[in-house]
Point group: none
Chain length 214, copies 2
Amino acid sequence: MKKKTTKGRKKIEIKKIEETNSRQVTFSKRRTGLFKKASELCVLTGAQVAVLVNSPGGRVFAFGHPNVDNLVDRYLKSNSGQNSGAGVTSAVTHYCPLSVPTKEFNQHYAEVSRELEAEKRRREMMIPAGNGGVPWFDEAVDGLPVEELEQYLWSLVELKKKVMTRADELMMINKSPVVLGGFNGVEMGFSGGQTVVNGGGFVFQYGGGEFGRF
Amino acid sequence: MKKKTTKGRKKIEIKKIEETNSRQVTFSKRRTGLFKKASELCVLTGAQVAVLVNSPGGRVFAFGHPNVDNLVDRYLKSNSGQNSGAGVTSAVTHYCPLSVPTKEFNQHYAEVSRELEAEKRRREMMIPAGNGGVPWFDEAVDGLPVEELEQYLWSLVELKKKVMTRADELMMINKSPVVLGGFNGVEMGFSGGQTVVNGGGFVFQYGGGEFGRF
DNA sequence: TTCTATACATAACC
DNA sequence: GGTTATGTATAGAA
């Protein structure tokens, strides 16, 4: 008989995988799984779903049902135009035309998707634009490109801004303290905590502990 | 002893669920699962992911990392100026500037949505995507050199991590997914380290209660 | 929602 | 890409 060569799956912590290679493998496998899940959600419930994934390296993968463009388009229209609240679609933000590369990809995706669906309607998966297995992931991850740093920065800046504003509102409107949670090993709860705002800083606290500062 | 009350999970065919109620339940469960998967993919591999879900009922759910809202700003800035090399790599990041009509629409939509959905995450949102709020931080960061940006980045990333980690803990420990709900008619999913947004703001929820809106 | 019993996804290895 | 042993997501029922 065959020798047991594997110890089987092991539990992992959900945090960035530092090891480049396994990170890439995981990305690939999970991306596939994500698309599959999205696909099943569509088929089972009739919902429309669009998933856009892009690796730090910049490659874009997408899944869409009926297809990405339509979905995005729909969001676009429901925004700029006005639609009753009835059958609503969305009210997300206004999207710009997709960049050429992305556009092409989505286009391609749409085709592939359509074909597969027509064929068996099991799942319309995606496939990166053209190149098969290409080194895309490693490049920018370690040196974390400026653009990514900036994205994070802005993301955080926005978060902070909103947190601040919200904190103010919450404290003004009702006197309920804003609490995000407790500490490790500390009982969880949303009462008894308080939000402290000081010129520029925002601290989430619970009991005597602090777990977040902005 | 306890009677076996369930036959356990059964294999199902991936085809539309006709029974309305179970379809609804499945939608809810799987949507949560999908967001969680997306979240994990982001955390584990550092990829950027956006998920848009349109339920048959018309509700819109979205998940995105990094924060879409901020990417809008980011885009706006790089767009008006020069499409900087920092250019956007993801389709998700290509958003058009929010137009006034859009904002108004979103506002209106939010109201309608509120009426239709008497559940809980209804109320008011604030901070129309973009600016309009506490600019101090914004401006402070605006003309900062890259080196500085990186410093800010690190400090903020650390803070963000704490919050995200905490959210994760809350979710894992209490099994209640920490939800970053959206308004503007868009339900935002949030779990495991992702900040979900969309033209407006988001809501931190815990179990059935809301504990923070930004 | 919550609870099982299972189906399915996937971490390690090849 | 495939295999195997497990960790997880969930269908069905309450």
